[in-house]
Subunit: 417 residues, 4 copies
């Protein structure tokens, strides 16, 4: 959306550009929203678009401006209470399930808040001695996470509305037939896992460390809607022997019978472009870990461990159906070979989200960013069709509870050799 900076630009300008382009992208994703759309919270996991716009702004205000810009004053001290997400060490906060009860501040006021913070961050970035580069980079990556959440959340908001509004008109042409699924065999090995080097990463990707691989095979593509539909039609949701105990309890309590956005007839699904026919060649999406695990068992396979995934992905170029592709929905592909590792859907792994050996969280309140969630969540890898390309990498660890379905989350199979 902004011109690519030329190589001759000084560093300060580059930092400006990255900051401002990220901020502008967030707003651009809201372009088609009506004012009313910014307010609604359709379930506790979902946040209103307005909240995402304000919270990402608060992040810069609290972690960059307040400690580093002398004399800085917030336009409204109440924002610290309203837009702190979960940083208990920062102070009390507004309860998450009540974010949809706030009509004020208005969208216009939130946009003014954004402009206010942007102005001050830019000013501070112009001071080369401010020492805020790492924090601003963290803030940019944080905002990119919320760009994805903003889209998955508004998708859920629209999905519960009987009018089934579309976020945007999207290309609805079906994918080309997908090639048969094949498995890539891999030998036992000791591999290095985790991030190292100069680029940005989250603390949970460190430290880089050794891991053991057993002989295994991993699917060369994602499971498709068509394949998953076979599982549904075969009675997959009625066979307790396929499910983890907690998964089966969830299936029965929630009366799950298909992926989150599919209709009863298994023929149409809700998308960011409204209702449309299920594309049998596109990757299945919006399934929980429980469903991914049950599907794999039904298919005589298993899910990959995150070490298996990462050691494979580390060798690949980052490319795929990511945010910049402008599809905003998973897509099938005619190509062959190892594919779809990045983009389309986050891939559930069999790995609980735990710390790497020797993990040290960030100091201070930012230590709450990742570490405290290392319980009752599973790792997902690879990014989705609404993940910005500059945000994803082979070592990136996303995580959600095993019952979560409102993210673009899908399935890649693996098996023991």
């Amino acid at each position: 959306m902004r011109p690519i900076p030329s190589a001759s630009q000084p560093a300060v300008t580059a930092a400006h550009d990255k900051f401002l382009s990220t901020r502008e992208t967030t707003v651009a994703l809201c372009r088609t929203l009506q004012t009313e759309d910014y307010v609604v919270q359709s379930m506790p996991d979902v946040s209103p678009a307005k909240w995402h716009l304000a919270h990402t702004t608060w992040f810069f205000e609290h972690f960059v401006l307040e400690p580093h810009l002398q004399g800085y004053r917030s336009p409204d001290p109440a924002y610290n209470y309203l837009f702190n997400s979960y940083y208990y060490t920062v102070g009390a906060m507004h309860a998450r399930p009540e974010r949809g009860l706030l009509s004020r501040p208005t969208v216009a006021e939130v946009m003014a808040y954004r402009a206010h913070i942007d102005k001050h961050v830019v000013r501070l970035l112009e001071n080369e001695n401010a020492g805020i580069d790492a924090l601003v980079t963290l803030g940019i990556n944080h905002e990119q996470q919320h760009q994805e959440l903003l889209l998955t959340d508004i998708k859920h908001v629209f999905s519960v509305n009987p009018l089934k509004p579309a976020w945007r008109e999207l290309d609805a042409s079906p994918s080309s037939p997908s090639q048969p699924l094949a498995f890539v065999g891999r030998d036992a090995a000791t591999v290095e896992i985790g991030h190292a080097g100069a680029g940005f990463c989250f603390d949970n990707e460190t430290p880089r460390h050794n891991a053991l691989l057993v002989p295994h095979a991993i699917a060369d593509r994602l499971v498709t809607n068509g394949e998953y539909r076979e599982f549904v039609r075969d009675g997959g949701y009625e066979m307790p022997e396929l499910w983890l105990s907690d998964g089966w309890a969830t299936v029965r309590q929630q009366n799950w019978r298909r992926p989150l956005y599919w209709n009863d007839a298994l023929e149409a699904e809700f998308t960011l472009g409204g209702m449309r026919d299920i594309d049998p060649n596109a990757p299945v999406s919006h399934v929980s870990y429980f469903e991914a695990d049950a599907y794999a068992r039904w298919a005589g396979a298993r899910l990959p461990a995150e070490t298996e995934w990462e050691s494979l992905a580390a060798e690949q170029v980052i490319d795929g159906n990511l945010l910049e592709a402008g599809r905003f929905h998973p897509a099938g592909t005619e190509s062959t070979g190892l594919r779809q590792l990045f983009g389309d859907v986050w891939e559930w792994t069999s790995s609980p989200y735990v710390s790497y050996p020797g993990f040290k969280p960030l100091a201070g309140s930012l230590g709450e960013y990742n570490g405290k969630f290392m319980c009752n969540q599973m790792v997902l890898r690879g990014g989705s069709c609404v993940t910005p390309r500059s945000h994803i990498r082979a070592t990136y660890r996303n995580f959600f509870p095993p019952h979560a379905r409102w993210q673009f989350s899908g399935i890649r199979l693996a098996r023991d050799l």
Copy 2:
């Protein structure tokens, strides 16, 4: 808001005017709302302002236009599903607690829906043979009920927002000192209760019938904030012997310690004009039946029966702090004598809401309007500071569950002689 029709106007124009002025009043009450404010549902009892605007419109569409205007087509058939409140015999409806999940239709679309229906109702009213006068009158009275709910609901919506927004800037001057409370003695008698005559009434006010009064006395004014605060400070919320069993359970479950909108210090309260000092001479408001009953017991009194209230009020002129007074908040008065019967706050009676002997509900779906709520609710009388003057009368029976507090509901004492 509209010029008073002159006496020489023909009947059709008068019906137009009443219809249109009611419809305009509803919209005028929303004048200060931001678009975002129309969307929020702060608890299941509350409906978003947008919903009130649409539901009252649907009422005219469904009960007036569809059966009486040949060839009428709704602008959107989904509205029948979205904006039916509780008429099961009409068909399936959107779940009440999920009204705040709907960003669409937008406020602008709802306003267009209103204009569309207004145009068609007016056209039908111009046809003197349409036979819709009684239905339109019912629709007008229905809309007036929602004018009150719209205000009590937006008050609740704003109250849960830590920013404590004001609906409007209101006169905040405290009331003059109230005169001492006196009791008006009344003898045993057989009285007639219920509506008779030509004017509009709801079905639940009929049939007019005899009732027995025992000798009793009834307070000449409402209980004030100052008096209720004494009850609170005396430990009223900690004395189980003052409370009904269900009331005490509610006090403990909900951790009630004061009227709904009072602050912890018992010094300020949330109003439609934002937070302001509690006016000790103004009537206490936003108390439940449980609290009214416990207060009366603490005060050595009881609540009046609805027959006692109505037989007394039948002799009074309808006047008081009603919607047209423009205060939008209960107010004290210096005057003496029997006062505050109409306006300020709805007065909890000791009477469960049941049918009058020989009651016949309206035919068809409109029979669901009142009768099916005749269980687990208590009768309130007299209207409040947000009740339109033309809407209230001595025979009017309002009703809410005994735990409800978000209406302008207060206390008048009585006692046996």
Copy 3:
């Protein structure tokens, strides 16, 4: 179970006998229970048999012995906490829904507690100056209430057990065909309602006062299982227009489709004698107020007001299928004329449970006995097949919430004339 006292017995001995025979009856009702059966609480409304045995004992201990027997000491001070039901002014108490979590005191210990209290009450009764007669009479009536509850509760406990145990072997012969239902017409009148005279009554039956009757008719017998089954087969549980709003919500939340103890096929029901065929001529039982009200609407009738019922029953001899009949289940009858007013099933009236004009509760903690429940409950009249004959009278007011079904509660129709 005890010989009837001869007329020449002194008053003291008569009081002894009434006290002891009541206490023995309670124990006799438990004769067929296994030790394990005394422990279980199958839902919060139900109390374990052990608890009934201990609570009725505590009632005598707390209200008779402690204030009137100098130097009395409880065998275990913890019993005051464990076996106080709901007298907040007495002190803190064990939570009602947790009564089934107590394996101790054991049944044997509870029986020893009973013997201990019996001995001391008898000793006090022998002292003619003790002034405890009225309190003991209240205690006896209280215990009779718990005799009924003990049976309805153990019935529920056994009903949730897939083994469907019987409390006792009962006569299972079906009733003779019932005679057609007829209505008894009654004129408008002013009648006196409530208890007066020397015999025992509860405070809620006073004061006696005037009431108005409108012209009406009242059914000469109870609604039968066969008649109610027609309602079920006609789709009564699927027609929202028949139901009160709260009733319809309950039907859907609880998935009600038939009376509490009927099986899916509408052919068998659980009884104190185990599963047995539904007797089409016996009165329907275990229906809630919501169901009674819906049935009446379906039948083109209504439920009687409690004033209508009492003024009719006051003229009748107290006789019927009560506890002493030993049937422990409602029974049909071949007889004609006004019948089944006493016994078989408690009859739901259309009257919310409120105080009579001028009602004064008992002084002290006993004031909590009845008055504090006067909200959200409906009045039932006439006793059931498990009500002791000496316990029931025309003025007796029982009350339960409108959703309650585990009592022997049924339907008598009425209608306006």
Copy 4:
């Protein structure tokens, strides 16, 4: 409890003895229970003692007798429904939270069921061609698990009773002062983990496989009550920065402020011998994973990984405060060196319960035994003071959800080097 079999006994007799002695031990643990104690379920995680006695019996009936004893007939076919715990592939089952609603079958009937099954299993064991040895061994190990659960469950049942009954009179002498905690350093290594060889193990202990250890140190003893009390007094339960996100939510929802059975004053605790003073030198017990993790963070340490624990324990003799010690409560020790690895309390590890690489569950319904719980649970190691000695081994993997506290679960610290 039974004489140790001499070496010259034939194999059949040895199998008899092991089977019968295990069955007798279960009954012996119930020796002090009153009949009422067998019935109660104090929370959904707890099962009544009666249920444990019957379920372990059903296990032999269903998995041994029905497939292997021709013509076998159950004494009551309903038992298959009532006493199946969670084997969905076997068929429908009674709901777990309702186990405390069953007064029947009685204790005597359950004991008769046990005798019936014992007789038939013994008969089958005498047939050397029956091929049931492996299944009986599994059943014995299964019953040993329920011996432990029976005790932890009855402890919970008694703990919620205000009378605080004791299961048995226990030795209440305090432990000798514990020696200072020291850490045992361990180098990076590749180790073998999991069970191999001829002895019994559960499927989840296989296959044996390689694992990597990082350099670390592990505490030579368990954390004591005295040490944990310092954490409580330091405000550990009020510092969100110490807790996992789900843990902090649980602390606030459940209002946790101390280990499960401690009193408010932090001076006494409920034990199987009733209330007694907290022994500061005994290991802390009845803490959840959340508390163990928070304590470790407060102490500047972490919990050990299960690979760290197992590789250390594999070198140790199995000895300690186990069931046969007859203490039934954790105890301190004067000794030094690596200690308390087995017995006293199960030790929370930092390892989520997942399958080992290449894991294959048992075939058929027994595959539901372990594998389906591999989600949202954490591994505990080492057994407790109520674990039979013959049941525990270094490779044994116990697992509970991170919020579970009613087991004897405690803390051993570790840290990175």
